[in-house]
């Protein structure tokens, strides 16, 4: 699974919400090798500024057509440029990068919030629909446009919103303990804001289930060269970009 640099052609873009878009690109070298949880590093400009690539999780692949998807929020300059790309435009992408999720679970529960749901979408694709469930949290109903995307891939969708406008009121932890009590699941995968992940890990570990987390750190290179993403692991230093971004919750000490 060597990393490659490809000139990828934009197939199209889709608006998912006010500030979230889905982009599909043609890059067979990446689409045919990327595992769920891996990411790519996208060059948004050939000019000197913005200088660095922008990392995005792989949100789904189409093996046959050689395309893959990313789902991104417009945050700043780089994602703004990305949002303006049209079908036919060509961008340089490095991938696949990092290590993906463990795929041996039989009855996984996926827990996500915000753009953390992007890599989980591809993860969902990789399990049998009837075996997989997702728990998603957001501040308000409009943030959970994700249900349409997950509908096709999962047996059940559980939702929470901070304001109670959709699903259970509260954070994902308002629902998680009772879901875990059912004893249905053999592994929990979580991706989202750090406070959310920390809270989820606590509950899952207490319930005695294995838990995988996907970390996000500011990355200058994405392939292990710069150490901007390093963090403390158990007994050794880890690089989020090459040792992760997916880790077992017990592997990372400082995040």
């Amino acid at each position: 699974m060597p990393k490659t640099i490809v000139e990828a052609k934009v197939i199209g873009q889709q608006i998912l919400s006010k500030d979230v878009k889905l982009i599909e690109v043609f890059a067979p070298e990446i689409a045919r090798t990327a595992k769920p949880g891996q990411f790519v590093n996208v060059q948004v400009s050939k000019q000197a500024a913005p200088l660095l690539r922008r990392p995005f999780g792989v949100a789904g692949i189409d093996y046959k057509s050689g395309t893959f998807k990313m789902i991104y929020r417009i945050m700043g300059e780089g994602t703004q440029i990305l949002a303006e790309l049209c079908s036919g435009d060509v961008i340089s992408i490095i991938g696949p990068l990092g290590h993906g999720f463990d795929l041996t679970a039989k009855h996984p529960l996926l827990v996500g919030g915000g753009l953390g749901l992007a890599p989980l979408l591809y993860l969902a694709q990789s399990f049998l629909k009837k075996n997989i469930e997702v728990l998603m949290g957001g501040r308000t109903a409009s943030e959970l446009f994700w249900q349409d995307l997950f509908n096709e891939e999962t047996a059940a969708i559980h939702m929470t919103t901070d304001d109670g406008s959709l699903g259970t009121k509260g954070t994902v932890n308002a629902l998680l303990p009772q879901l875990l009590e059912t004893g249905k699941y053999d592994c929990v995968y979580v991706c989202g804001p750090v406070p959310m992940m920390k809270a989820v890990v606590k509950v899952v570990e207490k319930a005695g289930l294995p838990c995988q987390i996907s970390l996000e750190k500011y990355m200058a290179c994405g392939f292990g060269a710069c150490l901007s993403c390093a963090c403390g692991g158990v007994g050794k230093r880890l690089k989020v970009c090459t040792d992760g971004p997916v880790f077992w919750s017990t592997e990372v000490k400082e995040w």
Binding site: G224, A225, A230, G232, R237
Partner: protein
């Protein structure tokens, strides 16, 4: 052993250190080289300069370690590295298999520590030592050694006394007069100088109203600092007689050529590796194209050509 590549027009020998191409990689931006094997043929790089190594392992700085700035980036990695023992036992054996000169970038807290480290690294497989007296991201030593001629001299002498290798001293741009420091380390016996290290800078997060980087300040690198780097190479080249390895914001062959014209005998690709991990190889090819277009038979012909009275 290095087998010739690039039809020899790029081959250089800087005071005994032989390279197939003057295009090397900058310390801290190329990992230990091995991270780049998916992207390029390491043997097509002039030399691999590895991440700054210290006597003991270091875990570096906490908090956010990098952030983009206009045409540049700030980093405060803080010399995270697994230490010299690990380097010698685990990394060096792998590097030895690659037929390319290995330059080990070293840092310490005192001249004695630099000396000790140099002695430890005086082993087969290491081709040169680059003394980092210009790291802005560590509390003790680091930049301090590089901003004062006397302490720079002490460090160079300690290293030279403990190694049989080619010694390069890496200079800091955060000084009033870089020529003064360059002359001092030349006199102290340094075999070459490399410049520039990063420029001290910082960024503030206006939402949190706090510095972005965990270590508050960091080193600015990338194209933004290239004009400063070219200027300093041009100044130092007029003063010293030892070879110069130029670096700072090199993103393409044209940028590299500016450094040769300013007096650098070799150059290093730094931050550019992050945008394009094949860059070092691409630049060698681009230099050959420029030489073809300008009827230049050997890279030596253009070294220092923009200097006064040449």
């Amino acid at each position: 052993m290095v087998k010739p590549l690039y039809d020899n027009r790029l081959a250089i020998n800087i005071g005994g250190l032989k390279m197939n191409t003057p295009v090397t990689t900058a310390s801290g931006t190329f990992g230990f080289g091995l991270e780049f094997q998916d992207f390029l043929d390491l043997e097509k790089v002039g030399a691999v300069t590895v991440k700054g190594t210290t006597l003991e392992p270091r875990s570096g700085n906490k908090g956010q370690r990098a952030v983009e700035t206009p045409a540049g980036m700030l980093n405060c990695v803080g010399l995270e590295n697994p230490g010299s023992d690990y380097f010698l036992q685990e990394t060096l054996p792998k590097l030895k298999k690659i037929a390319v000169p290995i330059i080990v970038n070293i840092a310490g807290n005192s001249p004695e520590e630099y000396g000790k480290l140099a002695k430890k690294l005086d082993v087969d497989g290491v081709d040169a030592i680059e003394i980092n007296i210009s790291c802005p991201n560590v509390k003790q030593g680091g930049l301090a050694f590089g901003t004062c001629p006397d302490s720079a001299v002490e460090v160079v002498k300690a290293v030279k006394a403990n190694t049989s290798k080619f010694v390069i001293t890496k200079l800091s741009p955060n000084v009033t007069d870089i020529v003064e420091i360059a002359l001092a380390v030349e006199n102290a016996g340094s075999d070459a100088v490399s410049l520039i290290n990063t420029v001290l800078g910082m960024k503030i997060d206006i939402a949190r109203q706090q510095p972005v980087l965990g270590n508050v300040m960091g080193g600015l690198s990338g194209p933004a600092i290239r004009p400063v780097a070219v200027r300093m190479v041009y100044q130092v080249a007029q003063a010293v007689h030892i070879p110069i390895i130029g670096m700072g914001g090199i993103m393409c062959a044209a940028d590299a050529i500016e450094f040769f014209l300013a007096g650098a005998s070799a150059i290093a690709v730094g931050t550019g590796n992050f945008s394009d991990p094949r860059l070092a190889e691409t630049i060698s090819k681009g230099i050959l194209e420029y030489m073809d277009a300008h009827g230049i038979k050997n890279i030596q012909e253009i070294i220092g050509k923009a200097l006064p009275n040449r």
